[in-house]
């Protein structure tokens, strides 16, 4: 196996695993295939990351058609970084899904769940690895369609409406995206992103190109749940099965952020997006509003899972805030927060999944005195919550640090103060959990069956440990992000 084939292998492994899991028709083999495929992708992604760090971008021509005629898979520092996050989280969530999905779904149809999971992973990895704009759309739809079904599998009937709404919105988003690509294709005659960028440089201010930018921006904003296009997200995350929520929250929106970065900086170019158009101001305004409103809404949620969903919207706001700065620090912050928030939120949703397994759902009435019956789960939530706040010594601090640095570098003091101040809202909503779990007396509705099974607890704690680890050892996350930022700004 040579390094040139890795970009394809990363994607192909889960893609092939999906029909295999389908054919297995039984839960256990399907699960094993899915886990193995995710693990394989993770290893391949790590190998790719090593490869691109030392030797530059890796390109793979699908079907041996050289780009720009054929479809090119192209992995550079940024995409390798996202690939590692997606496949890594997928690998951690897969063992969790065994215990969690078994409890939440019908046993006879479990194999379908794992097949869909593989498809979703393949879609997200494909979006990241491909260098072809239309191919990206296809993978986007693979990931989206499978995630609609996965969300609809939730136990609550509201999961159905959430999935439906997500389907409609997701399809509108994807269609907007493909309209944008169509306009770009009309103007450049190519679908290869690198080629497109080269050809766009002369005609970037023409009307169709600007329309394409608008369509792609709105389409991708829908997918990444940028305020005010976030409305599908809270319900989808709240009512989906726990494993699905954790996986999607950690990866789904992050890959969309990646797509946005790719198009802004890799295709349209900084000059047109951020200098000629008021793009950065719009993005900044939307991010600021997203952070404030979503954080405040989170504060009053009656359900921990829904609270975390709203907090995700706020955290995405921090990522887009970093993008809007369009500086080295800002982009580093965006990319590193994409990574750090992925693992932190993944950890939180996995732990909450454990609570939901024992209690039915994660409403605050079920959390009173939880620390007494589920001490490890509660502790994990607090630690990951600290990372969400951005406490020093956690991964979240690193992201916030670079955001503040970027704001200061740009001379925007109010923005630096804003970032610090809004972290206080995060303190408040995490405090609600601390208060309920640690300080309140044991409630009548609090689950008493003890900790979640080890198969769920161990993956969750791996991510908790990771969100602490990356607060101290930033050599991978920050250096990777900094390299990616440098690449984007070239």
């Amino acid at each position: 196996m040579s390094a040139e084939q890795l970009p394809a292998l990363v994607v192909v492994a889960p893609l092939v695993a999906a029909p295999v899991a389908l054919l297995a028709r039984r839960a256990l083999p399907a699960w094993m295939v899915a886990t193995a495929a995710c693990g394989f992708s993770f290893v391949a992604a790590l190998a790719l990351a090593v490869q691109v760090t030392s030797g530059g971008a890796v390109s793979y021509a699908l079907g041996s058609w050289p780009p720009p005629w054929g479809i090119e898979y192209r992995v550079d520092v940024l995409s390798a970084f996202v690939l590692v996050l997606v496949s890594g989280v997928a690998t951690v969530v897969a063992p969790f899904a065994w215990a969690s999905a078994s409890a939440e779904l019908e046993r006879e149809r479990l194999y379908l769940f794992y097949a869909l999971y593989c498809l979703c992973v393949a879609g997200l990895l494909g979006m990241t690895a491909t260098g072809d704009a239309f191919n990206l759309f296809v993978f986007m739809e693979i990931a989206s369609l499978s995630s609609y079904v996965l969300i609809a599998l939730g136990r609550d009937r509201r999961a159905l409406l959430s999935a439906y709404q997500y389907l409609v919105l997701g399809t509108i988003g994807a269609t907007f995206y493909v309209i944008g690509i169509g306009l770009l294709y009309l103007m450049t005659g190519t679908l290869n992103m690198a080629d497109m960028a080269a050809r766009l440089s002369d005609i970037s201010s023409t009307r169709p190109v600007l329309a394409a930018l608008a369509f792609i921006t709105v389409g991708v904003s829908l997918k990444l749940a940028l305020f005010p296009l976030h409305l599908w997200l809270p319900n989808a995350y709240t009512y989906a099965p726990s494993a699905v929520t954790a996986f999607l929250a950690a990866t789904g929106t992050k890959v969309s952020v990646y797509v946005l970065l790719r198009f802004y900086f890799g295709v349209f170019g900084t000059r047109i997006v951020l200098e000629e158009l008021p793009m950065s101001q719009i993005l900044l305004a939307l991010s600021v509003v997203a952070i404030v409103t979503a954080s405040l809404v989170a504060l009053w949620q009656a359900d921990l899972k829904r609270l975390l969903a709203y907090s995700s919207i706020a955290q995405i706001g921090y990522i887009t805030l970093g993008i809007s700065m369009a500086s080295r620090e800002g982009l580093t912050a965006a990319v590193v927060h994409l990574f750090n928030h992925g693992i932190t939120k993944g950890a939180l949703f996995l732990l909450v999944g454990g609570v939901a397994l024992r209690a039915g759902h994660a409403g605050f009435d079920r959390l009173q005195g939880l620390a007494r019956t589920m001490p490890l789960t509660s502790l994990g939530i607090v630690i990951a919550g600290l990372s969400l706040i951005g406490t020093p010594g956690t991964a979240g601090f690193v992201s916030k640090w670079y955001l503040v640095l970027g704001a200061i570098e740009a001379g925007r003091w109010w923005l630096a103060a804003f970032i610090v101040a809004t972290s206080l809202i995060a303190v408040a909503y995490i405090w609600r959990f601390v208060e309920a779990a640690y300080l309140a007396p044991l409630g009548g509705a609090t689950p008493r069956a003890g900790e979640a099974p080890a198969a769920m607890l161990v993956p969750a704690w791996i991510l908790v440990a990771a969100s602490v680890w990356f607060g101290f050892d930033t050599s991978y996350s920050v250096q990777g992000a900094a390299r990616a930022a440098a690449l984007l700004l070239q």
Binding site: F134, E141, R157, L161, V178
Partner: protein
């Protein structure tokens, strides 16, 4: 021919797009929404395919006497897009069936009202 008339395919595209989106926004019936969504997606097919056809162009088969070819790539792309569209529609309808089973209705405002009522009930009894 005026510019507007010569680009009539674009006008049809825009019309389909807006009509489809309008249905999605304005109609409360979940099935009608999906129909609107399909119309919306259809506009994209047209957007891609229309410019691929050149007036007087032939299928791209090299042969004596033909110098003007149509671009085949959009057709191929849209074939994929159609597959995606069909899959989306099928999945959407399947979900609507399940919604109908769970709520007994496919009117969105009724479903939302039912959810809201269900959320309020435990709060009042407390």
């Amino acid at each position: 021919m005026t510019a507007a008339a010569s680009h009539y395919s674009y006008w049809i595209t825009v019309l389909l797009m807006v009509a489809g989106l309008y249905i999605v926004i304005a109609r409360g019936n979940l099935v009608k929404k999906l129909i609107g969504l399909s119309i919306f997606q259809t506009s994209v097919y047209l957007l891609y395919i229309a410019p691929g056809k050149l007036i007087g162009g032939t299928p791209p088969i090299l042969a004596e006497g033909f110098r003007l070819y149509s671009n085949p790539l959009p057709h191929v792309l849209i074939l994929t897009a159609i597959v995606v569209g069909v899959a989306t529609l099928a999945l959407g309808l399947a979900i609507v069936v399940r919604i109908r089973e769970a709520y007994g209705s496919i009117e969105e405002d009724e479903i939302l009202a039912a959810d809201r009522a269900a959320e309020r009930r435990p709060a009042e009894s407390r």
